[in-house]
């Protein structure tokens, strides 16, 4: 029975996880976690790992040249760089507020890119 050792990244505790799978990679169990989220992370990480991407996009009409953004939820790990390509091309106009949708569906993930900071129109 293959066992995969992971460090949980769901919270800052960083619990050491052991994920047991069968020969086909099907998860049989997760140990070492101290909460439910740890188990979820262990299961997902060995089958379809995901990450939240945070970055900045260009903004016009604000005091700063860029504004902070994030994927609203986590996206498949293998889409991170495709996601960055779209972030690099995006451009918004001030004002922008926390939670405003910047891109409705980033890199075909179905997840929106949202603003995580406020930028008012500069005088």
């Amino acid at each position: 029975m293959p066992t995969i050792e992971l460090t949980c990244i769901s919270c800052p505790l960083g619990c050491p996880l052991k994920v047991e799978t069968d020969q086909d990679g099907k998860v049989l169990g997760v140990t070492g976690n101290t909460c439910k989220r740890g188990e979820d992370y262990g299961r997902k990480e060995v089958s379809a790992p995901t990450r939240t991407v945070t970055s900045t996009v260009k903004i016009l009409g604000a005091a700063a040249p860029v504004i902070a953004v994030r994927t609203k939820t986590d996206i498949p790990k293998n889409k991170i760089f495709a996601c960055m390509d779209e972030i690099r091309k995006a451009c918004v106009k001030a004002p922008i507020h926390i939670g405003d949708v910047i891109l409705a569906d980033i890199a075909g993930t179905g997840v929106p890119l949202v603003a995580t900071a406020n930028a008012e129109k500069s005088a």
């Binding site: 460090t7 990244i9 945070t54 900045t56 260009k58 700063a64 860029v66 995580t116 900071a117």
Partner: protein
Amino acid sequence: MTYDVIIIGGGPAGLAAAVSARENGAQDILILEREKELGGILNQCIHNGFGLHTFQEELTGPEYAARFIDQVRERNIPYLLSTTVIGLTQSEEGVQVTAVSRENGLMVYSAKAAVLAMGCRERPRGALNIPGTRPAGIFSAGTAQRLVNLEGYLPGREVVILGSGDIGLIMARRMTLEGAKVKCVAEIQPFSGGLKRNIVQCLDDYGIPLKLSHTVVDIRGKERVEGVTIAQVDEHFKPIPGTEEDYACDTLLLSVGLIPENELSREIGVELSPVTNGPKVNESLETNIPGVFACGNVLHVHDLVDYVSEEAAQAGKNAAKYSANAPARGEEIPVETDGAVRYTVPSRICPQRMEEDLVLRFRVGKNMRNAYVCVAVDGKQVLRRKRPVMAPGEMEQVKLKKEDLQGAKSIRVCTEEA
């Protein structure tokens, strides 16, 4: 006028202290912030991972800050931006704060109580005495973070990072996402100073090697960094000859520690701890100067902002109480440390004045597995808690009970190996 509470710093600590001071009855509060916006360093920490404890959801730095800024605004707590405090002294009313700004010029403010919430700064290259040339391209990780996240500029394309503190790890990922090549992260200690999750999601995810027990022994390049040499170190942190490796790079980022910013504390006569470089405080987070409280990274460097907010709320509450009715100081017993415990905050406790529960925060000096944290009062153990993992990069805490401390002459916090 005399303010009830003046708060120096409008970052996470100052904001939480202000909200809590108001909740606990302080009417006239003033926050003095040197930046153009409230929020402090969180504004440039655009990555997620903040707020799980406080809000049960994972926020980015600016989002976390915004929650507290909203609370300050809802309560109409006044604040002054772009205002730098240049002097802090004791006065008949309590404390006198001298500040300068473009709008108000040089102003003197009086307050019954003050909360120190100035945060910390990064250790520079000089503090490490790294040999080599002094070209452009050497940045502290936080400076690079500001340039990338707020100013929209890339400081380098080929990067080596010295130090595996959280900012260094976060910047390894950030620079990678922006198209730079991060060649390695070198850490002089045999363990990382950052959170484990950051090693996984910032280094491992992108195949960036973490070289423990390694340091930079030479920097090359006249105008711009052209390369660095990294070598392994022995147990005394001395480079081992023959282990040198050259890395071609145009940028060296330093994430080699944070130092609490205590110039003002020193000026007013606050006693500092040589371990934390922050004020020594009692159970009320009050310094040796009556009415002067401290919280957040100016007190000791935290790993999570959630704990900063928690601690700051306590300091704000105590400052509010003090401003209403300065309580007499009872006898304070020092908290002794042993085992791997490097320090504790608070470092003195007055059992009469403490609340029912008191959170004692500390850090350990080495990695430990399945060890115990023990607290003894007058030689008698009152608490023994198992910790699966303890690491120097992470803050620990235990809760002390008032009933356990009554009549105590000594308190001792230690770790016991498994």
